[in-house]
């Protein structure tokens, strides 16, 4: 079977899988961003009861494997009465895992804003919330964008694990096709190319574009 024949036969399934991967990616990314923001801000709090949960969360999710976390969320949590369908369990696990890494980026980004900015905002009598939201976060965001680009690519790679709880993503379809055809080179070669295109031709250029737009908005063009 030529590669073209392979594609016309199995291309549609690979595309279906890719769409599921894309959905997993976007949902997990959205969750990761929200979690990163909340946990990152909490970790900077001067109050121990606020800081402690964030520290524990970040330690646990960075210190253990994503696959184990995925299995916990899908197989173990139901034993405690919390159950997700596999699609939800998939992006929740990936989002929570990468959110823990993102929290460190948020914390670092905020800490990289010069102390003088806090002082200037304080000297205008701005409340802590306003200082953070209006003055610090916009600047922190710009500092964080490059590492977030890398993190989102890690997140995309992480979504491949959801195949292991039978979410019908790209990796899952590839494994199925390989199982019935044994055309490993064609199958996994295609998957490789699709993941690569997704990462380098979509995520990376998008992040670069976002950085340019932000830079212009922040007057640092």
């Amino acid at each position: 079977m030529s590669y073209w024949e392979f594609l016309s036969e199995y291309g549609p399934r690979l595309i279906d899988g890719t769409l599921v991967t894309a959905a997993q990616f976007f949902l997990a990314a959205a969750l990761a961003i929200v979690i990163a923001l909340i946990a990152g801000l909490m970790k900077l709090s001067p109050y121990l009861p606020v800081r402690a949960p964030a520290v524990v969360y970040i330690e646990v999710f960075r210190g253990t494997s994503l696959l184990v976390q995925l299995y916990w969320i899908f197989f173990v949590l139901p034993l405690f009465g919390v159950s997700f369908d596999k699609f939800t369990a998939g992006f929740v696990a990936v989002g929570m895992n990468l959110g823990a890494y993102g929290a460190e980026l948020v914390r670092g980004g905020i800490q990289s804003v010069p102390k003088g900015q806090w002082e200037a905002a304080y000297s205008l009598s701005m409340s802590p919330l306003r200082r953070m939201w209006r003055i610090i976060l916009p600047q922190a965001l710009l500092n964080m964008l490059p590492p977030w680009g890398n993190l989102l690519i890690e997140l995309l790679k992480g979504t491949a694990l959801v195949a292991l709880i039978s979410v019908a993503d790209l990796m899952f379809e590839a494994r199925q096709i390989n199982g019935s055809t044994y055309l490993s080179a064609q199958t996994f070669g295609s998957a490789l190319i699709i993941y690569y295109i997704f990462a380098r031709l979509i995520i990376t250029p998008f992040m670069r574009w976002l950085e340019r737009v932000m830079r212009r908005k922040l007057g640092r063009a």
């Binding site: 010069p114 900015q117 002082e119 701005m126 209006r134 003055i135 710009l142 908005k217 007057g219």
Partner: protein
Amino acid sequence: MMDDLTQYPLTLEGADAPMVSFRNVTKRYGSLTVLEGLDLDVAEGEMIAIIGPSGSGKTTVLRMLMLERIQEGVIYVDGKPITHQAKNGKLVPASDRYLRRAREPIGMCFQHFNLFPHMTALQNCMEGPVQVLGMSRRDARERAEDLLEMVGMIDKKDQHPSRLSGGQQQRVAIARALAMRPKVMLFDEVTSALDPEVIGEVTNVIKKLVTEHNLTMLMVTHQMGFARDISDRVCFFYGGRIEEQGKPAELFDNPQRERTQQFLSAVKSAD
């Protein structure tokens, strides 16, 4: 030794009450005592120049008014304690929230300007009035434009700070602080980071404030000529204390203390 807070009044009242009053103020960083038992009253409308060698605590005097907690004593601004608040007729250390509110009548300008880089000059000047004072954008813009006009920066109002020179940034920073209608202004070496040829832009703005407005000002400076020209009183700090203070002409022409004499002649020979 615990500071006995009952020795301090709850408020300062009367027509001659100072606008700013440090009463027996001690500031420490860890075990390092930076200022000890500072007493300093600044009358309404008075311009105080603070001079002294590096590390003598000049910046700390201003930072205690705006940014730092103190360890002993009480600071009053506009008659009210800012470092403490009255509870059941007694002074207790101020909460964060009280402290921030009590500092509302104070504005501050920094050596490195600290403009918000993600906002234009105009937006920098509107931020406080809109976000803190709750002014409408229209009124805030009008006030900001008036002030930018006053500091000679109206032409550059839509520029971000990265497009402005140091002198221009500092003038915008002054306008930003004034937009909050402060009663007290603090200037911490606002010309030290500037190229010599643009220092005049900034000192001229400060001169204008002195002659046209009834602001109370504390200005840390290394420019002795400027301090002499525009201040009502000069305080010479040495080792965390006021070594000598007086009218500029007296202090500069006829310093009484040996350290003052040494400092002034060292500065003169450096010029």
